[in-house]
């Protein structure tokens, strides 16, 4: 979809083939100093005119963040490189949020033009939110959805307009004490989406959000909460990009999903941060009776991603799925996975993970299947496949199964291999170059993922993969 928009750019000229690596001149209405203190949290909350309880929530979370040690698992070497004192925790790009694209400040508009957002809107996607730095700069939702009673707002506005419902659910799925980065997000969150779908309403066209970091050493901490009332359906899609700077940025989001009885939520992420972004995200869903939650999670960018979308299956017959791909190129570590926690009987889950490591990249699958006692009739299946494209790269699989109930069926399978010689030979005998053949095999390997995406995203993903694959032979 962004084909025309990216034309003026020589992709190779933008460091490391990363086409979203440009950055805009900073012209901000507010930019916090570096470092994190209670003062910054107070100021941020005051600027946003927040209710007292939210400020208290933030300050309590800050306290937890400061006290909690860094994780001792995962890529601790990279994690310990994060300098929390060298990050801008809040940057306000514009003083107003626009509903008409033409009124968005020119510089920001140009950025999103390059990313193809108005493009997307012209195609009548249901709703679009664009977050630039800490806050949402552009927002739109289709009128018919508004008439159906669907709420799709940025989180800051939602807090003003729907305080009661937010107060009831905010931080209930991922409490600040869950982990150090959830605590950080809870302290300094800004932006993100709030979605509420009334009972029985099906949102047929995906809601979309774009996240963009522009400032060097920026921290982006968006906060998303989606509540699907009984029997409703919604598909939410997010995309993320950032410019290439020599020093690192931090993206630490918290995403909470609540699927009430019989509701169905699908959450799709195409994460394509530049290779200097730490992407440390906590995503968790609760699925009630007969509900269904799906995380479709694509990880292409970032320096280090640690992300394990999880689903707590708390009502009988709830179903959870995670479909995850990770592409780890040079100097990247994709530590991604999934967690399924079966609390109620007859709940089912499926995890499919595909990873590709290349040019010294490292892809890790880390997952958990947990079945609590009395959760009888649980069925869970996990499938992890990894493809290694050269001898410099690395692939890890770290699954954990904790099964505390006997009447269950749990299956896990994983494979690691290289591109099959026979497949290559066959394709090349049909006239493809080696590079084309490998790209085709990789696309085929990822097909279970791509086929779950809306068409324009699938096309975009294939293009991104082709870009990543360039120069992988010879």
């Amino acid at each position: 979809m962004a084909a025309e928009v990216t034309k003026p750019f020589d992709l190779r000229a933008v460091g490391d083939d990363y086409k979203y690596g440009f950055h805009d001149k900073e012209d901000y209405s507010f930019k916090s100093g570096k470092g994190l203190t209670a003062e910054i949290v107070n100021k941020l909350s005051a600027m946003k005119n927040e209710p007292e309880w939210m400020l208290k929530f933030r300050l309590r979370a800050l306290d937890i963040f400061l006290k909690k040690p860094m994780p001792t698992w995962g890529n601790t070497e990279l994690l310990n490189d994060i300098d929390f004192q060298n990050i801008h925790y809040f940057v306000r790009a514009t003083d107003r949020q626009e509903r008409d694209w033409n009124e968005v400040p020119e510089g920001i508009k140009r950025t999103f033009d390059r990313l193809g957002i108005p493009e997307a809107e012209r195609k009548f996607l249901a709703g679009v939110t664009a977050q630039y730095e800490s806050e949402v700069v552009y927002h739109s939702i289709r009128e018919d959805l508004e008439k159906q009673g669907v709420i799709f707002l940025d989180m800051d506005t939602a807090l003003k307009e729907h305080e009661d419902i937010i107060r009831e659910h905010f931080g209930t799925i991922i409490p600040p004490a869950d982990n150090k980065f959830a605590a950080l997000n809870s302290a300094v969150w800004s932006g993100g989406s709030f979605v509420w779908v009334p009972a029985g309403v099906r949102v047929e066209i995906p809601l979309q959000a774009y996240f963009r970091i522009n400032t060097e050493n920026m921290g982006q901490f968006e906060r998303t909460l989606i509540i699907a009332e009984p029997g409703s359906y919604v598909h939410y899609i997010e995309g993320c990009t950032a410019p290439v700077y020599s020093s690192d940025s931090l993206h630490s989001a918290v995403v909470e999903l609540i699927a009430k009885p019989g509701a169905h939520i699908r959450y799709t992420t195409i994460q394509n941060w530049s290779k200097n972004v730490y992407n440390l995200v906590t995503k968790r869903a609760v699925a009630h009776e007969d509900a269904r939650v799906e995380w479709v999670d694509g990880n292409l960018g970032s320096k280090l991603t640690m992300k394990y979308p999880s689903i707590f299956l708390v009502g009988p017959r709830a179903h959870g799925e995670v479909l995850s791909i990770a592409f780890a190129g040079s100097s990247q570590h994709q530590d991604a996975g999934a967690k399924m926690v079966h609390v109620a009987p007859d709940t089912t889950s499926i995890i499919v993970s595909k990873s590709i490591s290349k040019d010294g990249g490292r892809a890790s699958y880390r997952g958990l299947i947990k079945v609590y006692p009395q959760a009888t009739g649980v069925k869970s299946s996990v499938r992890c496949d990894a493809l290694l494209l050269d001898e410099k790269s690395r692939s890890d699989t770290y699954p954990t199964m904790e099964i505390d109930e006997s009447k269950v069926t749990i299956e896990h399978e994983a494979t690691v291999s290289k591109v099959g010689e026979e497949q290559l030979f066959y394709l090349m005998s049909r006239g493809l170059t080696q590079a084309e053949a490998i790209t085709m095999i990789v696309n085929g390997f990822l097909e279970p993922f791509t086929k779950e995406l809306p068409l324009e995203y699938a096309v975009e993903l294939n293009r991104l993969i082709a870009l990543e694959m360039e120069g992988s032979v010879g």
């Binding site: 001898e391 692939s395 890890d396 699954p399 099964i403 269950v408 896990h412 994983a414």
Partner: protein
Amino acid sequence: MAEQKTVSTATQVDDPTKRREEPTWMKEARLASWESYLSTQLPGIRDDGWHRTDISGLNLADLRAVDFHSPEASASVSPWVIPALDSLSSHSGVLIQEAGTPAYLKLDSELADKGVVFCDIETALKTHGDKVRRYLGEPADLNDDKFTNLIKSWFNCGLFLFVPPGVEIANPLLSFTSVNYRSSGIADGAVLPRLLVVASEGSRVTLLHSVTAPLSQAVDTALHAGLVDIHIEQAAHVSYLELTEFGPAVYSVTNTRAWLNKDASFTSLTAALGGRLVKGEISTYLNGQGASAEVAGVVLGADNEKYSFNTIEEHNAPDTRSNIHFRTALKDSSTSIYQGIIRVDREAQRTDAYQSNKNLLLGSGAKADSIPKLEILADDVRCSHGATVGPVDQEQVFYLMSRGLTAAEAEELIVLGFFTTVMAKFDHKPAIAWVGSAIASKLIAHDRDSRKQSAGEQK
């Protein structure tokens, strides 16, 4: 060695070398490991390899290393070993070690003439010091955990097996170790075997090792902690079987390590059939090109028994192959944790590794964890793993019952079949039958007990 020695952190003056007639280098090595022991902590449930394995109930300070004795010519075969010797009648040597009584030792004279050494560890230190020093005299390893340090400093039984280059031993060597706490009057004792196997270039040997500590109500806690080191030189082959059956008071911690040189091969079968908490770690280091390992494990849990096994496959050389098959069947409220890791080094191109863990949950309170891990740094590899957890297939039960079996018999048969598939990977048929009958008797005895119990409840 007349007195019992205290293995106690409370009394740091304890000296593991006291009253031992051993070479100075051995005493020094024991002391060095004792120092390390005193400064290391008991593993916690978050430590590597100890996931949800809680050993904090074991108070090492209360334990004493029990006394074992060297072989005497007059020693005779104890009655409890006779059934095993019957089912393994073709063998090349036997070593029986029991707490408090002289060891029994026999080795085919033909093998002794060829230079094969098979004896208890104490004798080995006295008469083959030159051969064992390289392995036992090594300085304390900083990576050793508390139990390894404990064994290295206080080992009180065990064996040494040396096979000279090119010698192929067709029939297995047998080792039986037993502590009968009740009859020996030893309470709260520690059995700390150290096994050392060296298979020289082009040699071939099978070692069957069994440790039992019969049930005893008289004992609060007892510990079996073993260290098994197996060195397999170029093109040599070792088959190693370990069968452990412990009573409900016994904690067991075993660390088995095999180092494989070029074209070496290793086949192992671990069978764990009882104990309060049975922890085992089986590491295979495929250090030479073309080395291959076949590692199998069967665990049958009942009552409140807890099992925790780790397998570690390190592929450090090209063209290496490993196959892991670990199967667990859990009755009542027994629990199992299996962790397995395949590590493939950058050098280890053309590695072929497979790991499978299957868990049958038979009892309503049974729990099983499975953590099969892969760390792959080479690209031209074939690595995969699979894990399953679930109950007995009711269709199979139904089929067998339609053929006239009771539900209990059907389950027994299915469990035996479940294990047999994996045991068949071991390359010594009589040994498989021997372990199979031990599994069957635990299954049957247990079913009989629970039937009696439920009959009693009905009255």
